[in-house]
Symmetry: C2
Subunit: 712 residues, 2 copies
């Protein structure tokens, strides 16, 4: 008897030793901060609000019966939505249990997980399969299973201590251990892939390994299934981000990819601080988060380059997590608090506690938007995304030059694309993806056919199209093989800010360079936006440079005689088939202007070319039988030529309309007389502002004096 | 010497007696409230902000030289803008003087007015003349002169006591007395006209009469130049508003017309309280202000019926004045304080003081939007504007039925037009006026040709068009002679809210009735919008019912095969020439639906007719050579028939899209199976909500049971 007792004691002791350092909860919420966090949900407004939302979701879950259906439906279907709901319930109830200490929440999680544990092993691969994707068991694609587990394991961690040992046993044996095997073995190919699906897989496995105290799985997650670090977390951190933390697919996907990276980093930081995960690769995670924020405009919306849903902003939950952890565990930059305030949401967690306390203490300062060049490519040598900004966070001009690599399957054929924002709004915009996300009636909520035929095509962007063909003739493989090069970047905010990039491969035999600058000139209300697009080739070509704009066109230097009795498409392919031609005007003088009125401010784009110029006013929607393309308007500058041709434009942001007092001021702007003079080394651009004459000179042969402005 | 002294004393005494009761300032600011007002500019946030803005304008004026140019330019020109600036400076400096008691402000007003006094009499009628308008002397139309004087006399009143007697003498003799003569004699016709230009003229004369203590001019302003009250202020109050305070031209012009009415009322109230101006005609001014507010949506924007600039809201200064005076001098309704808060502006005045103090004391309650029928016509017998509302001020459904008289020259041919708002947005909208106000490059900022050819035409609205002709064949004189009739109105918020109107004259031989209702049905998220348009005629006609919508069309019950390679206009006249036909589908079943997604909420309009039905998807912009018409999209229901035909539709507001969390819910809605059954007395409408069947019955012969809903 005594022996038995000793044996039991030994067993318990052994278990304690094995679990050494194993505390629950141990991920987003940890024991040492629990008391403060509980107080924080009363004390700090943002935390109070966030917890109220969590508790509401938890209470809503408790009001419904446990429902674990056998997986059957694809995305959007009944069983799909129920399993999504279940992981949200598990996470919300887990948090609610830790904060309120009310066992009813833990009980609900227990019942749900026991039900999953009873069934999981009997589920085969999901009967509905998403075409081209690896199937899951709970969902139609394995990615959804990974996401499910990343959430569920957190909930489990929070109720762990409230569950009887034998229930934990059942749950781990029936559910989590089989899941670990499924993810690492059955889905092994994805698990070892350097790709965001792989990141989700290893985050799920790593988090589960920590919570279940299975170091072997943690090792797999960090070092790859073979343990050679050619795959796994470290390898992904090495390869998926550029040295500046830019993610090749673009900001919309960067946001999505960031979440599993950050979640697993937090777990590593908690359980194995000696690995110094946040310092890895020169603080790469911190850079990735900063880059995600810097690739938004002041509206909070991500720059919608490549396939992007345009209303996605830094309010999304991935960025809430990232900002909380960046502030709490990486660098307590008070300008992150401004972002958290504007997110108006916080994670109910250790990290969220620090953020909400700091905000309540008034530590927030305005987020510091920067002008910067974000290098693309694992080695930072595959072009990049240029961003220039001027003005306060409340009224900021922002120019974006897309000179990144293709960005894989979601990339658009839009080398040297320009985006221009001002006063919180898009002025020259990117269409983003042709997709109504989750709207079943619009192509099942997926990418529409017009994403290929329109949204990806060059002419759908504000960049040069040659001979009515898209970049790389629309061939993604070709495009993936080449990238633009940074030519020049200068963000000295005291003078001219400029970014310039070369694209030598997009069109055979044609060298492209685009230079965008913010040029402060006395007498103008804001810096002028200078845009110099240069193309050099031996042969004769037609060059089209579209500007897709928001707002109303209220003035032009040339007569507009729009087609009145019929509209026809501008072309037959490469996106031109989707454009209606409203009006075309030949401009003998080779120069002119267009004025827009957008949100009560005027924008006048003066333009000049060295050749006969034609301006076409266009709108979207041709060859669109299901009316999938959103209405949009643009003006398209067109010239034919050979040798070196230029499109030079200067856009002035000016004047205002006061709708309350019904007054208008500054409708005419200050700039006039734009002309250009081609030289052998570059171009001289002349214009007047309030009767003072200026020369803006670009010398492509002298990087020390690439751009100069002088008053004449 | 002594005699001389006595004489002087007698003169002074006589002057004092003549000025008896004459206090300065005596209009918007009066002596007894001055001390409190000065404190208020420090004490109450809104007043502090408002005064800071006034002072900024005053200081800006002081920083510029006195500039009184000889009138030369038309609207928008240099001298025009300078004289506008001057009246604003005079008013701002007058207020700044009273609050700060710093004489520099008074001095600036004095110098400006002395300069005007030196020149005014030498100015002939303005050399530029606005076509068809009576010329002024300072401006190209007399209306601008009236507005100038309404502002200037207030500024003069405020600095009156600071000016030496001899300067006042010069200003009055050289400027104000000639102005009084000019307005009442040279502009006598306008002065005696029952029209908003006349209101401005008499307000200028009345205010000036009070300030200068010239009772004979006050009398002219109140009783008309002949003194017979057939013109003048009382006559205008009698004739320009309906008994419900509705102004025939519509809300946009009501706002403008209200200002001189309110300003003169305030002066009458101060100087001749015995006239009980605010009680006149059953508190007509109070009703007019209430009606101006009730003809806005929760966004603050006025319903844009007739010629209206769509971004005009109750933030405009006219409504700021009106709300301040309504609260301070008419009825201290705390829901007006909510409006003042949302205006975020206040007049620096006695009235503004009361409002800002009450707001600071936390007395504001949410503005009480009502469902109501606003009678039109002097006698209230010329139709009216119907408004139904449901929901909170943050998420309100609002239906408008335009069944008013034509509304004079600015009226549109849109009898029984429907507007539908929800969640702060337009859903089915009115185009408003085709005009870019004050944008010189767009037709001088005036009404564009497309205002006549498009905006006023019936098909530009959400109402019935017969045989492709507009109401009254677009003849304004004919339209002015007839008006719709209220058939039924019920705003019992506990059940169905309904409004129904007849229009027997718009089309010869056709009786029109439209019934709009908000119908609460269990299981729907908000009341359903029922729309029953009935037309009865002997002959065969084509009936078109357009719905111009905001948002994206995301689903239809019928296949859409949009025109892909060419667009052509829908017709040749009556506005049809401005519509591109995108797609047309014949619907054999006579019923179907269209789903819109607008600001993350779905709207599904189910429709049914008793005849073969065609749905046309359309957009604006055909036959628009200067591209003056804003882009817009609509769906147009079309049927041919004789006898009694119906268009029955039910619009459900449902579901949501969460762009942050990328989720969609309730995209399908709850309603299905819409059908109708024509009877001799009316129509029975059948539909299902969540598998429960309902009948909505309209009986046009039984007003006691006009509309009934029952579950089957």
């Amino acid at each position: 008897m005594r022996c038995l007792k000793t044996g039991l004691l030994f067993c318990l002791l052994l278990h304690a030793i094995l679990s050494l350092g194993q505390e629950h909860p141990g991920l987003m919420i940890t024991g040492p901060h629990l008391e403060a966090l509980r107080k924080g949900t009363v004390q700090y407004p943002l935390m109070k609000k966030a917890f109220a939302a969590v508790k509401q979701r938890a209470d809503a879950a408790l009001a419904t019966a446990v429902n674990v259906p056998v997986p059957k439906d694809g995305g959007g279907g009944v069983t799909h939505e129920q399993h999504k709901k279940n992981y949200n319930s598990i996470l919300s109830c887990g948090i609610a249990y830790q904060i309120t200490q009310d066992k009813k929440y833990a009980l609900y999680v227990k019942e749900l997980l026991l039900e999953y544990a009873r069934q999981y092993r009997s589920w085969p691969l999901h009967p509905a399969r998403k075409p081209g994707q690896e199937p899951g068991r709970i969902f139609w694609q394995s990615l959804n299973d990974f996401v499910w587990q990343v959430n569920v394991i957190q909930g489990y961690d929070m109720v762990y201590e409230a569950l009887p040992e034998q229930d934990r046993e059942k749950i781990e044996t029936g559910l989590f251990l089989p899941i670990l095997k499924f993810f690492t073995v059955d889905c092994g190919k994805t698990f070892d892939k350097i790709h965001n699906h792989g990141t989700w897989a290893l985050a799920a496995v790593g988090l589960t390994g920590y919570v279940l105290n299975k170091p072997e799985y943690v090792k797999k997650a960090l070092n790859g299934s073979r343990g050679d670090r050619r795959s796994g977390y470290w390898a992904q951190l090495d390869q998926l981000f550029s040295p500046d933390g830019y993610y090749a697919e673009g900001p919309y996907y960067q946001r999505y990819a960031l979440f599993p990276f950050v979640m697993l980093a937090k777990a590593i930081h908690n359980y194995q601080p000696e690995l110094r995960v946040f310092e890895y690769r020169g603080n790469i995670l911190s850079k990735a988060i900063a880059t995600a924020l810097q690739t938004t405009y002041t509206s909070g919306l991500f720059f919608p380059v490549n396939d992007a849903i345009k209303d996605k902003s830094f309010e999304s939950s991935e960025i809430v997590y990232a900002v909380n952890i960046a502030y709490a565990d990486m660098t307590p930059d008070p300008s992150l608090l401004d972002v958290a305030q504007r997110q108006n949401d916080i994670t109910v967690s250790d990290a969220g506690l620090k953020v909400s306390a700091a905000i309540a203490a008034g530590k927030a300062v305005p987020f510091r938007y920067a002008s910067l060049w974000l290098r693309d490519g694992q080695d930072g040598k595959k072009g990049g995304l240029g961003i220039l900004r001027s003005g306060s966070n409340n009224d900021q001009q922002c120019l974006v030059l897309k000179a990144t690599s293709q960005g894989m399957g979601h990339g658009h054929f839009d080398r040297l694309n320009l985006l221009y924002y001002d006063k919180g709004n898009e002025v020259f915009y990117d269409y983003g993806a042709a997709r109504y996300l989750n709207i079943e009636t619009k192509g099942g909520g997926g990418y529409l056919p017009e994403n290929e035929s329109w949204a990806k095509q060059t002419v759908a962007h504000n960049t040069l199209v040659i001979d009515q063909h898209s970049d790389f003739n629309g061939d993604a493989k070709q495009a993936e093989m080449h990238h633009p090069e940074l030519f020049y970047f200068q963000n000295d905010s005291s003078g001219i800010q400029v970014m310039s990039a070369d694209e030598p491969h997009a069109y055979p035999g044609v060298q492209l360079n685009r230079t965008l600058a913010l040029v402060p000139v006395p007498g103008t209300e804001r810096p002028l936006v200078a845009d110099v697009f240069k193309a050099t080739s031996a042969g004769q070509h037609r060059f089209d440079l579209p500007f897709w704009y928001q707002g109303d066109m209220v003035n032009t230097s040339f007569p507009v005689h729009a087609n009145t009795t019929a509209l026809h498409p501008l072309g037959t392919a490469s996106g031109y088939q989707h454009i209606w031609l409203n009006a075309a005007t030949a401009i003998a003088s080779q120069s002119g202007f267009v004025s827009l009125l957008n949100d009560y401010r005027f924008y006048t784009t003066h333009f000049v070319t060295g050749n006969a110029l034609e301006v076409k006013l266009v709108s979207t929607g041709a060859n669109d039988p299901s009316m999938n393309i959103r209405p949009g308007r643009g003006f398209l500058l067109s010239q034919q030529g050979s040798g070196t041709i230029y499109f030079v434009s200067i856009t002035e942001s000016h004047g205002s309309v006061d709708p309350v007092n019904e007054t208008v001021s500054g409708a005419g702007g200050h700039l006039s007389g734009l002309r250009m003079d081609k030289g052998t080394n570059g171009v001289r651009i002349f214009f007047s502002v309030d009767r003072k004459d200026y020369e803006l000179r670009l010398d492509y042969t002298d990087k020390n004096n690439f751009i100069r402005l002088k008053q004449l």
